[in-house]
């Protein structure tokens, strides 16, 4: 921090602090909250800006004059069809229920992952650490592969499937309309500040599907008296209602909000405690139980309530998680808002585990191997398919109609400028 006292660095430090505090892209020349740079909250986290010198050009906006002259919403569809003089955006996207996807989440939603290759000496090589600079400038998160906003093929194992990719293939006009507004440690309390970085203009932009998913940090902390520091149902109600009221002032009419319940973290101890950690596989000398105790002792455990041999504490933590999920369920049942409808869904861990078992997988493969806490790449991809099926069956209007012009869009604009 003393480095920032130097006059030359003061300005740079101020910018870094502003970006870190507000989860905004570090490089955003036109200040429209979208970037052409990948990491540092850039286009790995939000749709890539297609003109970072013009703040009226960004992913998710309604097209400017049907994008005759330029691609104002970065979906790669613009210009006029010479055959009939009709702008392509008008021909292919008018009335197409275009919408974006926004995640308001935590480290699970941002997809926290520490590569096990970094500590597996038997396979270690220069290749093992090639992703280290990208990982650190993305806060050890991999949103580009994540369950809600992923758009790149996974390079960290498993495969990428995401709500965004499915919305995009359902309607190619949704290309690049994604925002992952998540943070390691995100909870219903600190999400209230985090969500101010949402880029959505109620007048100019398309509606959005907003996934609200703080799946554990309201009951997870590393403090000695972990139960005392958990969010109470009353606080949860207050936090979530404040968030929804704020969203009602920002989301274009016709948006949707899906509240995701908290996970039952007993899954962690039950499936990991006596397994060897990657660092302990060479000499078979470190189990996850030892890792959990070590983190506990240092008071940096991501979740003292679940990462513990104390079964009573694990059950009490899950009990509180269920209470908080019920608060979300009640909000979805009874609260109404002007610009969006609200739905509730359980975090699909049980269905994911069952689906993976049927595919021949093991439960422990659904948990990040190094931290023994977060959902793995496989868990995220499977979770997407389960969530999608649920939405198709129970809330089909939320996903919008299949765009009949998808094939023509692809024929004319190929990959629409990619990501």
């Amino acid at each position: 921090s003393s480095v920032c006292a130097f006059p030359l660095l003061a300005n740079l430090c101020e910018k870094i602090k502003h970006v870190l505090r507000n989860e905004l892209p570090f490089e955003d020349l036109d200040g429209d909250k979208f970037s052409t740079f990948p990491t540092l909250r850039g286009y790995h986290w939000r749709g890539r800006d297609c003109d970072d010198r013009n703040n009226t050009v960004y992913p998710g906006r309604r097209p400017d004059n049907w994008d005759e002259e330029r691609d104002s919403n970065c979906n790669g569809i613009w210009g006029v069809d010479p055959k009939d003089g009709i702008p392509y955006e008008k021909k292919f996207c008018k009335g197409a229920d275009s919408q974006g996807v926004v995640l308001l989440g935590d480290s699970a939603g941002a997809h926290f992952h520490i590569p096990p290759e970094w500590m597996t000496v038997s396979q270690m090589s220069m290749k093992s650490f090639a992703n280290l600079p990208m990982a650190f400038t993305n806060e050890l998160d991999w949103p580009q592969f994540s369950e809600i906003t992923g758009f790149l093929n996974s390079t960290i194992g498993g495969w990428t499937d995401s709500l965004y990719l499915r919305l995009r293939s359902r309607n190619r006009c949704n290309h690049r309309d994604l925002q992952n507004i998540s943070k390691n440690g995100g909870s219903s309390g600190n999400l209230l500040r985090l969500m101010k970085s949402l880029a959505r203009n109620q007048l100019w932009d398309h509606p959005a599907i907003v996934i609200y998913a703080t799946i554990g940090n309201d009951v997870c902390n590393g403090n000695n008296d972990t139960l005392a520091d958990m969010t109470t149902p009353k606080e949860m109600l207050s936090n979530v209602m404040r968030a929804l009221r704020y969203l009602d002032t920002r989301l274009p009419n016709g948006s949707h909000v899906i509240l995701t319940g908290l996970v039952d973290g007993r899954f962690l101890w039950d499936n990991l405690h006596d397994r060897y950690h990657p660092l302990g596989q060479l000499n078979r000398d470190i189990t996850y139980s030892q890792l959990y105790s070590f983190l506990d002792c240092l008071q940096v455990s991501p979740c003292r309530g679940w990462m513990t041999p104390n079964e009573t504490l694990r059950n009490l933590t899950s009990e509180r998680a269920l209470q908080l999920s019920n608060v979300l369920k009640e909000i979805a049942r009874s609260e109404r808002f002007a610009n969006f409808d609200v739905f509730y869904m359980d975090f699909p861990l049980a269905q994911t585990a069952e689906k993976w078992r049927r595919m021949g997988g093991e439960p422990w493969q659904l948990i990040e191997p190094v931290d023994g806490f977060h959902p793995s790449q496989i868990a995220g991809a499977l979770g997407t398919s389960i969530t999608w099926q649920k939405a198709l069956q129970e809330w089909p209007h939320v996903l919008g109609e299949e765009n009949p012009f998808n094939d023509q869009i692809e024929a004319v604009f190929k990959d629409q400028g990619g990501h």
């Binding site: 000496v121 590393g222 660092l279 983190l295 002792c297 240092l298 940096v300």
Partner: protein, 122 residues
């Protein structure tokens, strides 16, 4: 921005464990293992790695050569600290002589070792 004490300790135990296992896996000296690890790191960050190896390397090598585990090394480096009234935190099973005894022994080694005296002076 600065890692907490707990995270510093985790980082130390993690890195010392990897160095120890690299030396074991490749049947090399600890010094060679550190150089190997630094050579794996992307070019831009290698300088930082070599500096850390210079500063902490001799200490780590001396203690690992005496069969001390990462918990003992990091506590003797004071990158893991025991807060008053708190237990000694460790990832590995404690050494037979007991963790506190092993840490005290490690600190004596550091104090008396010639090679390390200059380095500690540094």
């Amino acid at each position: 921005l600065l890692p907490s004490k707990g995270h510093t300790c985790i980082g130390c135990v993690l890195v010392v464990s990897v160095i120890e296992q690299l030396a074991q896996w490749h049947n090399s000296t600890v010094k060679a293992a550190m150089e190997r690890l630094c050579s794996y790191i992307p070019e831009k960050l290698q300088g930082f790695c070599y500096i850390l190896a210079e500063v902490y390397g001799p200490h780590i090598a001396e203690l690992i050569d005496r069969e001390m585990n990462a918990d003992v090394v990091c506590h003797s480096l004071k990158l893991c600290k025991q807060d008053p009234g708190q237990p000694l935190c460790h990832l590995y099973r404690p050494p037979k002589v007991g963790l506190s005894t092993a840490i005290r022994k490690a600190r004596r080694i550091v104090k008396t070792s010639k090679g390390l005296k200059n380095f500690m002076g540094f």
